[in-house]
Symmetry: C2
Subunit: 727 residues, 2 copies
């Protein structure tokens, strides 16, 4: 099968990690003659794994370990050392980093724990280790790492039994998860690994660096990551943007229930930082996100070995009605579609299948294959040739016909397997195979596996693979390479406005926030700020017969309605004056010391569909845009979409399409659809503005009212970056 990539792997390595993840020489600091110690096991892993470079065990007490002469210190080693595996306790590390630097060691794998994860003292020690390493030019894997291997270079510092070289590069913050995948692969019998690294505390090297390395590493066909926490999410997104077009990237992110909600000052703030935000921004950059741990290996294997799909239209070929129905259910859950087969395809199928076969997708061969398993391969070929089909899914008992019906069918099964292998090589579409005989590994399925066609033993896992292949294909076609929204040029008057607010120790007033949007081309209705009752005549003149709302302008009154600081549906100067007096009286009663600057007079917006647009600066992923439907959708259902800023136009469109409540925007109960183009422009514009003003910390446009023709920003709130205030 061809790799998912349509571009070749870059020939020149850019990642410095190659220098020591494929080392010519390895020192083992804390090498041991005790078979239970890591300093012994690593030597076993290297020797049994036929490591071809030089091994230098460091141990001043014994002359040799496993026949390899020992050294008392790094300085005693005659030649260069690319990689040091350090098995000694945490306290030895700062000194050892100095020695490694002196020796010119390129990378150190530090197993010891007892650093940041234990508290402030440990964090201090960790910083000392990092400082010493940086001073000496040594890169650090860990500390607190489970170790690493690079099987295609015969480097195995783990002494794991039965781990097979193969296509999957794996970076995992859980050593148990590596072990689980290795055992699952052993049972599966056909999956193998290229490089494994446990990033540990990510003191020096983080997921972004490892991802770049795997992206370049020629034996890795899929980069697979088990992530508990990113240290620099923005760099990771950047690395993923570069790697996913070249190679599939699979991420399983744990901690769905632990991240919880932050106490926050805005709706956006309350929902940002959630697990779903992480999923959204990873998908945005083309990562295949896996939600269940038992799907990691099937999805990684599928993406490593199979062609991505051009779209979501799947043709299902089944040899039993029950499993065909289950398959339809699961495809629908996964957002995939049953392809509508062309008339020509149906006719070709009719020519080779029994009369009682079902030719509508899912195709049920209805016994035709019971005496002739090769007919399945012919069906696959026919549907693969249909332009309406993006992927082919074989479901049933293939591989077991000779067991189930007659031994004599084995030959036909083997010929069918060869035909499928040949078809997969040339048809440019993925062939995904589920067989209920997969657990017992009959000959035809073994043959498919050997030829690089995976066979799945669960319909559910096979459908997840199809979903990943389709999402990857759609990402590469629709999203990859689209320009990202460029920053607007910051305006002097707006910078001055931010500076004033910073000097006054407050966030932007609503009218200021709206003026920022207006300054950069967002159509926000003209408003009027009255600092005293005397200015209301001019306001009344400006709006005429148009009903207006009046809201208090005060940095001290955050909940304006609660303070009686909002009056609606006012027309004419008299009404404005009355409302002004009422607002002033109420707000002074609410907070006698409030600094009240006046009132904002703003036209009432027509009724329409309420949406919310928000921005936070996430501590991990940086500026993130949120879009959702207003009211209960955001408050109760948390039905929102996230994207890291800057956005592409595709991102903005996909945010709207992603909402569960999107039907409301498309028009319900006979109402017209809202102006999606205007929403998309607003999202893109907000992305551009946020990129230009680092002073902006959080933004909430809530509500924005969307109409069939345009939209109205009814309320706007911008929180200032407090860190920048003291500057």
């Amino acid at each position: 099968m061809t790799s998912g990539s349509t571009e070749s792997t870059p020939a020149i390595h850019k990642s410095p990690l190659h220098d020591f993840l494929a080392p010519d020489s390895i020192a083992i600091i804390g090498a041991s003659a005790d078979p239970t110690k890591r300093g012994y096991k690593a030597m076993v892993g290297l020797i049994k794994g036929n490591y071809r470079g030089r091994i230098y065990p460091l141990n001043p007490k014994v002359p040799e370990i496993l026949g390899v002469p020992t050294y008392a210190s790094l300085d005693d080693i005659p030649g260069p050392v690319d990689l040091a595996l350090i098995c000694t306790p945490a306290a030895t590390l700062p000194g050892l980093m100095v020695e490694c630097g002196r020796k010119g060691v390129k990378g150190a794998v530090i197993l010891a724990s007892g650093f940041r994860e234990t508290g402030p003292e440990g964090a201090k020690l960790e910083q000392q280790v990092l400082d010493a390493a940086r001073a000496g030019g040594v890169r650090i894997i860990g500390p607190n790492t489970s170790g690493m291997f690079n099987l295609h270079k015969n480097v195995n510092l783990l002494d794991l039994r039965n781990v097979k070289p193969g296509d999957i590069g794996f970076i995992s913050q859980s050593g148990n998860m590596l072990l689980a995948l290795v055992l699952e692969a052993e049972n599966n019998g056909h999956v193998g690994f290229s490089t494994y690294v446990g990033p540990g505390n990510q003191t020096d090297i983080g997921f972004n660096d490892y991802l770049r390395y795997l992206g370049e590493e020629e034996n890795t066909r899929v980069a697979t990551l088990y992530v508990e926490g990113f240290r620099d999410g923005q760099r990771f997104l950047q690395a993923a943007r570069e790697i996913t077009p070249v190679k599939p990237v699979v991420v399983y992110k744990s901690g769905a229930t632990e991240m919880g909600k932050k106490a926050a000052s805005s709706h956006t703030g309350a929902l940002a930082g959630s697990y779903e935000m992480t999923v959204d921004v990873l998908k945005q950059v083309g990562v295949s996100v896996v939600r269940h741990s038992d799907q990691i290996l099937p999805v990684a294997e599928g993406l490593a070995l199979m062609q991505q799909a051009r779209g979501k239209r799947v043709a299902v070929i089944a040899d039993g009605g029950g499993q065909a129905t289950i398959t339809s259910d699961r495809l629908s859950d996964a957002g995939l579609e049953l392809a509508t087969l062309s008339e020509a395809t149906r006719k070709r199928l009719a020519d080779i299948l029994f009369a009682q076969a079902s030719l509508a997708n899912p195709i049920d061969v209805a016994g035709t294959s019971d005496a002739d398993p090769e007919v399945l391969a012919r069906c696959m070929e026919i549907v693969a040739e249909d332009d309406n089909v993006d992927a082919v899914f074989l479901v049933g008992m293939f591989g077991g016909y000779h067991t189930r019906f007659a031994e004599s069918l084995l030959g036909g099964e083997m010929r069918a397997a060869e035909a499928m292998i040949e078809l997969a090589r040339r048809c440019g579409k993925p062939l995904v195979i589920y067989s209920l005989y997969a657990p017992v590994k009959p000959p035809a399925l073994r043959r498919l596996h050997e030829a690089g066609l995976p066979v799945y033993s669960s319909i559910e896992h096979a459908v997840k693979v199809l979903q990943a292949l389709a999402e990857r294909g759609l990402y590469l076609q629709r999203q990859h390479g689209l320009p990202l929204q460029e920053s607007v040029a910051p305006r002097e008057d707006m910078l001055a406005m931010f500076a004033r607010a910073q000097n006054e120790g407050r966030d932007l007033y609503e009218f200021e926030a709206k003026s920022l949007l207006r300054a950069h081309g967002v159509a926000v209705a003209e408003e009027f700020v009255a600092h005293s009752a005397d200015e209301l005549a001019a306001a009344a003149a400006q709006f005429g017969e148009q009903p207006v709302a009046m809201k208090v302008v005060s940095k001290d009154i955050l909940h304006k309605s609660d303070a009686g600081g909002v009056k609606l549906n006012l027309v004419g100067e008299a009404a404005l004056r009355t409302a002004f007096d009422q607002i002033m009286t109420s707000c002074r009663a609410y907070d006698a010391n409030a600094d009240i600057r006046g009132v904002l007079v703003t036209p009432m917006a027509r009724k329409g569909a309420e949406v919310i647009v928000g921005v936070v600066r996430d501590p991990i992923f940086g500026p993130v845009l949120m879009f959702g439907l207003g009211g209960i959708f955001v408050e109760i259902l948390e039905d929102v979409a996230f994207r890291a800023i800057p956005l592409s136009r595709f991102d903005a469109e996909a945010m709207v399409d992603q909402l569960k409540g999107r039907k409301i925007l498309a028009g319900v109960r006979g109402e017209a659809a809202v102006d999606k183009a205007a929403l998309v422009e607003l999202l893109l514009k907000v992305s551009s503005i946020v990129s230009a003003y680092p002073q902006l910390s959080e933004l909430d446009l809530n509500p924005v009212i969307a109409y069939p023709d345009g939209l109205a920003v009814v309320d706007a709130r911008i929180i200032i970056n407090r860190a920048m205030m003291s500057v």
Copy 2:
């Protein structure tokens, strides 16, 4: 391990299926000497399976098959025949049923297809077969069945290889699904089957009968069903109500995407018949519903072998932080909770674990077990003794310590396994075990399996088992045995009202529907029907200053608002008269021929939380109640709960608690919670009324407005049973 049951299996068989599913003699009609034919394979299955009863092959052409003498016809057989396996084509069946009846055959397994599934001709033939069978007192499995086995009685009509006798009874509309489970069990190595039946077309015997049989069958510890469609859902629910207290029942229902929505005249009608409705009513009667096909076997095995949990509080013991986090995520997804361990428990754990261990749940032993796997069993015992813990979940590499760390640990692992087995026998709580070594079946895990403690190879599957154990435990404690809502006594005046509407060929008027509710004790505001403008003075007097709504009363105007037939917020006679004239003018313009009976004057309801209560008579499950939040929740999000009528009080409460939008009823943005007790009473009352009036076909109370103190039924619609109209 003990069975999930707390009651003993009834000693006396009530199901007539025992007579032929454990037959003393079997005739094979259409027995064959051709090894590819079912009439040969069944004989192989019986002979190889050491069937101890008599086998009578029917074949007029050969003297013996596999050494067993043949007969030309049933009449030639000397002794009685309990069961006939019929391998001949569809057309032979009506005649054969007469012969079977004459011979006193108790049950016939009919393999042939070509009946109802092929169209009207086939349906007619199927009816002929059924009539003949009934006349002769013969029960039918199938037709179009995949066959049956009863392994504990050595009856195997399938010739499946390697299928092990065991605890799981399986009824499956897909033969491939049986094959898939058998192969999965073979790979697992420890699961076995008791009775299998393919119900085929369910012409005579349906899922309800098979369920009763499995409930009584002493070798079956869990009844497992793959269902494409029930023929009589009401009987199935009744059977399940009787069996689930005695024995776990697992159902995988396919067709989630196919059932779709019916074109319907009410919101309730539009949502009823959905997959989620089926799931709700099955759970209502204690069925464990499985949503993914690859969870069927793990969940069935877990329920067969393990004690149910008393509640949802799970204690997790892990030997690695990563998998502990994943486990927490999945428990939360499944609606389970991490138990809060008592101080005493934490202290006892601290006494045996390393200082760096995490004693908060999930418990991370942080390396303590690496040199002493027995510590895991001790941890399990300690947490099992905590009253705050309902289930214990071991997560990690148990069984593989001797492979991973040192061979010498094997003894400790085996001792730990024995301690776990002993603990499971006496602690009264389920011990669920996931091991990443499960795929390679190391000795300690084999020992656990042999002793009836399943070990799962997927965290996700293990969590599904925990969920099923907890849901079953909670069902038995909270729901099983609660009285079901009794029917009200039908009132003469209401029966007369239904009769009037039936005679007039119309559904109930809104005021009639409300009077039905009022007649049976639902607090519906008093209203006034004015047949002419002259009666409005009395209406105005009745309501005084209270604002009222006015709605046209006409069987011909279904969309009253569209016709201009609704006026709101009216006070005083003058306003009523004006509104009356406007309504009459508009409605006559809308439909000149409409039969207009007058107007309904009804008090305006205060604002509150809108809910919807509905009833449909589902063709499968009979009367079903629906409850949901109004507006977009029902229209866009389809956030509704279903229960088959009659309800228990628990059912009514659970319907309210089940909604995703339940937060709205609990009070959002500082609002008070609505009166849940009043909602529950309304649901129970509607259940009682529907049971009393078969004339009622559909009911929609939409909206009902719920307040902190009571509720208001604003609109009511009752559709008449058209089938009863002609009576």
